[in-house]
Symmetry: C4
Subunit: 341 residues, 4 copies
């Protein structure tokens, strides 16, 4: 199998809901929730891509030749690339096919990421199985996955963290930006916004690093730091929880200026290839979560598709480093790019 075949397969399987566009930019699917689009006008998703495209690279090849090393350290482990798969749940509803359920999808993502030397996040949902099934897939892969928990009541969260600890996962994530999913309350299991104190209760109850996903302001990043988070994901939930937000890459530089080095900064929202990863690192991210393209890879090629896609992005990152005079991940910085948001 090669990546071209993965894309072609995916198109036949999920083409009605996700068109597997040449550039996955939120335009064809705008407003499609359920589905894979951004909420409302879809502009939050679309802007994520637009702003990434506005970051430009500085080509410079007058440097001593050296080996390129794309690896990073996270949670005391080594990832081959600064890439993670973002959590995606509700597969059947959003992709309009029973081809993969939350369990088989998680197997592909967690396994394929492991094979490629990176790590995948799994999702959560209103039914217990929506968390347990993905966690089972993590267990099958020696705990090489990061479970995501929705912002339920704290005891529910703590119970799920215990279950994750049993699988010896390296970290857990809470997608705090799911607080606006009023549908969950309608289904009898409300999510809520969380105060710093409530988040402190969680981070101090576990030895696992806790990642707070869905921070879009400097103020929010500082509160996450105060709450004891291991890291944040600068994220607008792919544009699916609030219309008309800023783009994630757009708020990254100021957030990095405020908290870089004090906690890990992850980001997601529109990152597609190795050049995009490079841009995020240049503007202050430690690593990047990729969402929709991993789903395409999983539908089109299963575990192997996920591995192939990761390798493709990793190789692109490597080539980008060659052309910008960078040899290691820490060489990548603001001097490598121009941008005007």
């Amino acid at each position: 199998m090669n990546y071209g075949e993965v894309l072609n397969n995916a198109k036949t399987i999920i083409g009605k809901k996700c068109r597997v566009c040449k550039e996955c930019n939120g335009i064809a699917c705008k407003g499609e929730v359920p589905g894979v689009g951004g909420k409302g006008t879809g502009l939050a998703f679309i802007r994520n891509r637009e702003k990434i495209n506005q970051v430009k690279l500085h080509l410079d090849t007058i440097v001593p030749e050296d080996k390129i090393d794309t690896s990073i350290e996270l949670f005391g482990r080594t990832l081959k690339y600064p890439i993670l798969a973002a959590p995606i749940g509700g597969l059947e509803m959003n992709y309009g096919t029973a081809q993969l359920d939350d369990f088989t999808y998680s197997q592909a993502i967690v396994g394929g990421c492991k094979d490629a030397g990176v790590i995948g996040l799994t999702a959560d949902g209103v039914k217990d199985a929506f968390f347990q099934d993905p966690l089972k897939a993590v267990g099958e892969n020696e705990g090489w996955g990061i479970p995501t928990i929705k912002p339920w009541k704290n005891d529910e969260i703590l119970k799920k963290i215990s279950q994750a600890e049993e699988k010896q996962v390296p970290a857990i994530a809470i997608d705090i930006d799911a607080a606006g999913l009023v549908i969950l309350a309608m289904l009898g299991k409300p999510v809520t916004r969380k105060s710093v104190d409530e988040l402190k209760e969680i981070t101090s109850a576990t030895k696992l690093p806790v990642i707070l996903k869905g921070v879009m302001t400097v103020e929010g990043a500082k509160k996450a730091l105060e709450a004891g988070a291991y890291g944040i994901v600068v994220s607008n939930h792919g544009g699916r929880v609030l219309d008309h937000t800023l783009a994630t890459i757009e708020v990254l530089p100021q957030i990095a200026e405020a908290v870089k080095g004090k906690m890990k900064i992850f980001i997601d929202g529109g990152f597609r290839d190795g050049v995009d990863i490079f841009k995020a690192l240049a503007l202050g991210a430690d690593a990047v979560l990729i969402g929709r393209p991993y789903a395409v890879a999983a539908y089109g090629g299963g575990r192997e598709g996920v591995e192939l896609y990761t390798q493709k992005v990793g190789q692109e990152l490597k080539e980008t480093m060659i052309m910008t005079g960078c040899n290691e991940i820490q060489d990548i910085g603001k001097h490598c790019v121009s941008y005007s948001f």
Copy 2:
């Protein structure tokens, strides 16, 4: 009935004049006057939408959870949401159907708004009935509506105010930006621009709060204040009286800086959903008038359609407040948004 059905019904009734576009942005109908478009190039209408889209929200869910209260106080009464229906007249001419006349339209708007806990404005025109009929609909709803009067000669205006007072309405509006409708002079009943003194004569002749609709400059807002207005509507008449004006949201911040707190600031021009309402409030408006979408709701669902649309927008506003860390209307401010006009 649900809102999707309202839209579908509307399309069959007014689809030739108003296409009931997915995004009501003035592009499909540009230049169509009569009709529902903006005048000339249509760019004044189109820019209203474009500039609203340029305001971006700051997502932050790390806050203590609390109840959301969307209500505001106006004219000593409580509205469930900071939303009003804008006055629309000449229904048959502009929408190309006899389905609703100025009376039945006003019944749907005033009644539906009342049912949803907000308030509707009614319109005026060259014939006496164009003011009396809508006023009758207000009367049927215990005066729960705001009549709008065109900038006729002052005695004509004062006579109409007296008629409105009899219905115990909470306020009256004068759409001073109708001064350029030279067609009215051709029909024998000219409208004119008004000096501060002429406006003072009106505001001092009634105990009703007087709202001046059609202010687009700081200078104009200060003159309205000097004239004793209860409030202004920042409005370019939906782009229908002058081509190539600035957008209303674009002039709002400077107007708010000049007169906020000294008089009420309303705004209209391209506001469509709850996120749009939030943006207007963040930039200094006390409440927002919505025009064309209310007409769509009235054609597609009558009084119930108007109520359904209001509830939809109100719910969207509520969800937006959840995601931006706001619990009450006064929590919404400039710190919640980014914009560059």
Copy 3:
């Protein structure tokens, strides 16, 4: 006849070369020279329109009502509106029809403008008749027209000025930006750039006011002033002599700042309706030349078409003055508009 009929007629006559677009903006005809488009990429023409569209008006109707006066004084005469018809030559070649030749076209333009209370400019060309024929049409209208002369050798220019003086015209124009028409040299009659001294020789040899057409820089405007010009036309020749110039409205404010009041400032390039005229006046022009739309009017309605078009634009200017609180032409200024070039 009404203006809608004029447009429809025109479409049948010149539709292959000039599509009589709803917005005459240089896009459909780009690069068509001969034809009516801009040279090369056509972007000079297109930018003229784009930049006019970027000027926005300040609506304000809280002013004392008064009569609107659109008239101006030029060359000791009164024009009903600050509008002139720009010179257009080579009709048959550019519009692809023998319907009008340079003589009959000039009759329509000069006569129609006179009827409407404004004044038309006529054109020049490589053959003697291209100047003589239009001049004859001016003569038929009591000299109520302004002949334009190409930048030939000075004695040729002076000879043509003498001929114009005999018709008692109010002024003559020289389109100095025709210097780049290398085709004229190929046809045996070269045009050239002119030094300040050469231009001085011309302005001092006649009592007629001399208008230099084709100035796009502050430096150029100052040189025109030094050369004794009565006025300049800020013009890029409709984008037909040099690709990729700035827009005329874009350079107007700085030119006005340098020479306003010391000489007359005319402008052309993309002005279409009364709002456009208003914008030019607000940014410093004394009057505006309109080109292509006058040709459309002449083809579609002859002398009457030219009159009808002028009245339409004049009425639009009047309505724009009503809505911006202006009563006389000198009330129109920078405070009436916003722009960011």
Copy 4:
């Protein structure tokens, strides 16, 4: 033959790979590598054109008339225009036809440029013949061509320089931005980035002027100067070695500010006609390389096509100089243009 026929011929020969678009701007062919497009999103190529279009000219014809001289001195020789043909290799693969191979293509380019008074660069590749064949074509034209060498190991480069010296070429070029072509390593002949010292070894080993092609930063330009280069080509390899770079014209002004006068500054990337050449000179380039349009000319008209295209561009440059008040190349400067990148 005329240039229109050249274009029509080309369309029939290479139309499947290169559509011979009216404006060659990288949109139709984006992502097509092999092919003629930009890499990945194609935005590096596209931006090259966009930014050139954002440079605008200052028209001024009030100047003393004089003769126009477009010639420049380079390598102690005189070129009729400040134009060079950029090196293009892999013809059969990228243009999808056997019509021209690297040898016959080089014959057309080198010969046609010579006939028109300018000079062409030839290409290099993984096989020896890819360098030898073009060099043979240079030899057939008395050495009137500039061979380009890929950044192989230094001894390989030095060997090829010796071969070039035998043909008495005026200069050699090294396209250092080819360092990212990992395909070459896969084919057994890796290219690498070069340190300043490695480049010094090359420039000091030959008396030929050495041009380093592929510099996009001030830092890179200073390193090239330190390495003893005769000149640099500001180039992003037509957008084919790294996605999302800045445009070449965009970085030119700052590079010119740093090294202008200390070494020659060439540029390529999207330059198509004489106005484009003028813009590059105004922003600091000494001469401009043109790539894709020369390939179109060679396919469509061979040696004669190359000559015709050069004359067309040269004539356009001359006309642009007339309209901007420039008589010699050194008259062209920043005062002739406006730009905002």
